[in-house]
């Protein structure tokens, strides 16, 4: 479903990703972790072509994302549901409108928009707030609206950037259960988070970004959450030789 081959990315000459390679199969549920600034958001942006890599190839569902002409990008993005780190909700639109406007732009009639928006809002337990505006919602509620919007078009691939960043631990666990449910229905799920405790509890495959490369493996249960990625990163099997630009 997702294939990265030797992907490198620089911002203004500063290297963020270096020779990154990994694969995620269809139907998998995978975490992407690493310290702040490691490049998690960058990896996701490369996936939906908000950024292009300096080198390497990226395939999503067999389609080459790097060489894709700009006219095909909307089509690519419509096959994914994206939960952005900063939610990107429209402040002047209600919860219902925020969730359903993509459908509106795809020409789905109002009745069906209502039905589908209600369905996904029910899933994230916000169906009683359809007429609220984003600023009337808590951070966690906004995050759930963002998730509802990502799910409303029934994506093949769900990509979420820190979807639990504003949730307390109980709500975060609930969110993960939700992701598992979605995953069970056949949607591939990729979640970027630095909440190591959550990754540990969920017990899914985990990719750790470290110094531009990626390390595979489950986060060790014994490690304190903050230190987990460090131990992992400096462990005995670095994929990329240590090197700074």
């Amino acid at each position: 479903m997702i294939e990265f081959y030797g992907v490198s990315k620089e911002y203004h000459g500063r290297r963020v990703l270096k020779n990154l390679s990994f694969q995620v199969a269809q139907g998998e549920f995978v975490f992407l972790t690493g310290p702040s600034g490691a490049g998690k958001t960058t990896v996701l942006k490369l996936l939906y072509r908000a950024e292009t890599p300096g080198a390497g190839q990226i395939l999503v569902n067999g389609r080459n994302v790097v060489s894709m002409p700009p006219s095909r990008i909307p089509e690519l993005r419509r096959t994914m549901g994206i939960v952005f780190q900063d939610y990107k909700l429209l402040p002047t639109r209600t919860v219902f409108e925020n969730v359903s406007f993509v459908l509106k732009f795809l020409g789905v009639p109002l009745a069906e928009r209502r039905r589908r928006a209600y369905q996904v809002l029910r899933l994230v337990e916000l169906h009683h707030r359809v007429n609220a505006f984003p600023e009337e919602l808590s951070g966690g509620e906004q995050q759930r609206v963002a998730l509802a919007r990502a799910l409303v078009n029934e994506p093949e691939l769900l990509v979420a950037d820190e979807p639990t960043g504003n949730l307390d631990h109980r709500l975060a666990q609930e969110m993960m259960r939700l992701f598992s449910q979605i995953n069970v229905r056949g949607t591939t799920v990729l979640v970027a988070t630095h909440d190591v405790a959550l990754i540990r509890e969920t017990g899914r495959r985990c990719l750790t970004l470290d110094r531009g490369g990626v390390l595979e493996g489950l986060v060790e249960a014994a490690l304190p959450p903050q230190a987990a990625w460090r131990r992992e990163g400096s462990s005995a099997h670095p994929v990329v030789p240590e090197e700074r630009p």
Binding site: Y48, A50, S71, I73, P74, E75, L76, R77, R78, T79, M80, I82, F84, K88, L90, P91, F101, V102, K104, F105, L106, G107, V108, P109, L110, R149
Partner: protein, 299 residues
């Protein structure tokens, strides 16, 4: 069905966008409306002048207007001289009553106005039908000067001459209208472009998010383009409304003041085709402005 819903959502988004920038929208609609209104005035004048020319063209004859009180002997003398000149095929007397009837027939909408006049403003006259070729004959001018020197003659009118001049005026009015209209429409398109750009700025975040979630490009930019077109359409309709009001106003003024002279020129409204053209002009201005503002690197 899906494309129907897509069009509905486009229109919905476009209207919402205009509403969000409603002050600017109102200003631009007013500007377009006023520009097209001015163009319409020119067209109205040109069409009516043209109508007058057409009404008169059939009667390309020499008209000799007589002084009030010209006697029968003088008229007979005049007619004999005319027939002797070898330029005139026939003579015809036109009484003041006949002249008024003709006027009423040509300008039906003003029949009421002339009917209410207390005295008949039309003088009696003699019409001379020219022989074929006489109109371009060198002998015609001295002959007309000769007629004009008659004591009973008030004025000699040779229609071909002033019809030709009137035609020139019509062309000038139409050309001025077209040139002014073009400049004004350009200005209107520029205003629309600015309004559309403003609505795009107001929707900046929305556009970015729409792109990120994969909304089709035409559906992202379409509402803005459509917004421009709608502004042009509204401006065109506003111009038509204003023209209609102005036309009625002038008509009422003519009837109230019995101003027959002005009445000759403002007797009918723009033809449906010209009305359509005017609105189309607004739509085109909107299309141009909208297209300029919603080109990809602006949105």
């Amino acid at each position: 069905m899906r494309s129907g819903a897509a069009v509905a959502s486009l229109l919905d988004e476009a209207l919402a966008g205009l509403w969000r920038a409603r002050r600017m929208t109102a200003v631009s609609v007013l500007q377009i409306g006023f520009s097209l209104f001015l163009v319409g005035l020119f067209l109205l004048a040109a069409e009516n002048l043209g109508g007058v020319v057409d009404a008169l063209r059939e009667e390309t004859a020499v008209t000799v207007f007589l002084r009030p009180g010209a006697d029968e002997a003088a008229q007979a003398d005049l007619e004999r001289r005319a027939l002797d000149s070898k330029l005139v095929a026939a003579v015809r007397r036109v009484s003041p009553e006949e002249a008024r009837r003709r006027f009423a027939r040509s300008f039906a909408s003003l029949a009421g106005a002339t009917g209410t006049l207390s005295s008949n403003p039309f003088p009696s006259s003699v019409e001379l039908d020219l022989l074929p070729g006489a109109a371009s004959s060198a002998a015609l001018r001295p002959f007309l000067a000769n007629l004009a020197a008659f004591p009973a003659v008030e004025e000699v009118q040779f229609d071909v001459d002033w019809v030709r001049r009137l035609r020139g005026v019509v062309r000038l009015v139409a050309a001025t209208g077209a040139a002014t209209g073009f400049c004004l429409a350009l200005g209107a398109a520029f205003t629309i472009a600015n309004v559309v750009r403003l609505t795009i700025l107001l929707h900046r975040d929305e556009i970015d998010i729409l792109r990120l979630v994969g909304a089709p490009e035409i559906l992202i930019r379409g509402p803005f383009l459509l917004g421009g077109v709608l502004q042009g359409l509204l401006g065109g309709l506003l111009a038509l409304g204003l023209l209609g009001l102005a036309f009625r106003g002038v008509l009422m003024f003519i009837t109230a003041t019995e101003n027959v002279l002005l009445g000759v020129f403002v007797v009918r409204f723009l033809s449906p085709a010209t009305c359509g053209l005017l609105v189309l002009g607004g739509v085109l201005a909107g299309l141009v402005g909208g297209t300029i503002a919603s080109r990809r690197h602006h949105v």
